[in-house]
Amino acid sequence: MRGQSSTELIIILAVFFLLLLSVLAVVSQRDDLFFALQPRLSARTVADQFATELNSVFLGGEGTTATVVLPAVLDDGSPYFLSVEPPARLVEIRWEHRGGVEHYGAPLIIARVDGTLTNLSGAVEITHTGSGVLLSEREP
């Protein structure tokens, strides 16, 4: 009877262990996806909003001005680097994630963008100058 109990115990523990391992594997996979998704969505939002404002200022015509206040960090606390790449017609955002650098580009409809183009932060004023768009950082 004692031998039967211990065999049953071993089998059941083994099955529990396998179940636990498979559940942990699935949870770990989802966890990775979630933690990669959060900063990516936040970065996309920052770049898309900035590109939308820049495009709107260009469409607004000469004299149109808008100010975008950029967040200090992404929603998950990651620092980021925002730049405008006129030749590529992109607002590019880069952020670190688990030791690597990820990036995303939001499309622009204008390639003539002057002023502060790299490492944008804080309050950024976007002005249509007539010939293109000018970016300048200013106190919020």
Partner: protein
Amino acid sequence: MDDRKERNTTRAQILSVDALIAAIAFAVILVLALELWSSVTEKMALVERRSDLERIARDAAAVLVETPGVPANWSNLSSALTTDNVLAIGLAQSSSVNGLAAQHASSAGLLSRNALVLDARKVVRLVQLDASDHGTVKRLLGIAGPGYEFALRVAVWDGSAYALREQLGQRPDASAVHVVQRERLALLHGNWTQLTLQVWDACSGVLCG
């Protein structure tokens, strides 16, 4: 003897198949919940993509109809058109709303000439450019994204219906997951003209399921 038998029976019940079934049921429910979460995440990604396409379509339609482009005389350039010599593309005549806005009014609603007037030469040049270099037109319109494509139709009112005058780009095919359409009205040779821009994405990865 009877007592020991009872104790053994009780111990066996604790580690019975019931507990195993319960554990399996728990694991199945947990995995199903995680799969549901995964499905919600995929749905979110689809919504994100659609909203991306809508933003791109809105900006591209607006830049075509509302601006003359940079430089404003890009259609007269004798050299081949590239993303280097055309900084922004637009089909409006140089003197239409966007050009007048800064000089005469702060809002398009205050203008006496509030219809957007297209330059026929620009329309033709854009069609030619698309035929020779579709990728450049996509970049000029800001249509940048994985598998993103566009189609543009220019139709002129003939008194009873809009008759197709020009079309360029690639029309959505069977692989299209989302198709976003923007229609804008303007004047071409004094006739009402409808520009229909379709921006769409071809399926890729999990979207092809």
